[in-house]
Symmetry: C2
Subunit: 132 residues, 2 copies
Amino acid sequence: MTKARRSLLHVLEQASEPLSVSALLQHPDVSCNQATVYRSLHYLEQRGYLDSFVLHCTDHGTERYYSCTKEQAEHSHWFHCTACHRFIDLGACLMKEDLKRWEQQYGFTVSDHTFFLTGVCATCKESTSSTD
Amino acid sequence: MTKARRSLLHVLEQASEPLSVSALLQHPDVSCNQATVYRSLHYLEQRGYLDSFVLHCTDHGTERYYSCTKEQAEHSHWFHCTACHRFIDLGACLMKEDLKRWEQQYGFTVSDHTFFLTGVCATCKESTSSTD
DNA sequence: GCTAATTTTGCAAGTCATTCGCATTCCTGC
DNA sequence: GCAGGAATGCGAATGACTTGCAAAATTAGC
């Protein structure tokens, strides 16, 4: 594990939400080149240390977001607030059964699934209604 | 409804699966400029005629895929085969209840959700196992 | 510890989807 | 037929991401 990879993994372990490459590049503990960030993230994801998904948001455009996989290779799904751009963890994925059902029904094998919500979080709803 | 928008809507109505901008540009019935395609798709999506999602696939990169919304504003979810790149319709979205539950639990308001599966379809699994 | 081989990194240029500015064309109402 | 606003085409720009290549770092062998 090289210095660049270790620093990225560490930052993502400490993070409470998925981070984009641009967020990682701005982080003080990440001091490597952007090409290295991309390469390291690929490396770490392939090794099962990280999870990622592509999210499009009007303000930030289309970006890939990375988060650490928890111990048991469990992954979370997320709600993304389009106002404050924070993520809310919806908890571990509960789709195992549904995926199995679909696999049986259609005969395909699911290697990956993407699921997330977007909208406005409770805090932003309040501040919008009071300041507008 | 202009000629460009009508042709795009028509092609997507006839399509059995979501189409990317590059697929639409290659379609014989779509004869307008790519900037017009992007602008028209935005227009049609905003008016509720279309649904879209961003999917990343190793072979085709990251692209936005568009499909027509059915009559009752029902939308489908899809399985994407990473071998033949076809989509399989998983049927109408059944997540209304789940979304409501999450909204109550976390206090946010969901304006959109993204869900799709990727993997290898039955046909591609067969042809792979027999020709490898 | 020292050198050769392998891997990783930085830099700069390239790719690809998507967007934007602007001039031209189309459409609608008069 | 004509004026005015909307839509389109064209080409350049943007931004996320990738790649080639040489330098730096890590590893292996002695």
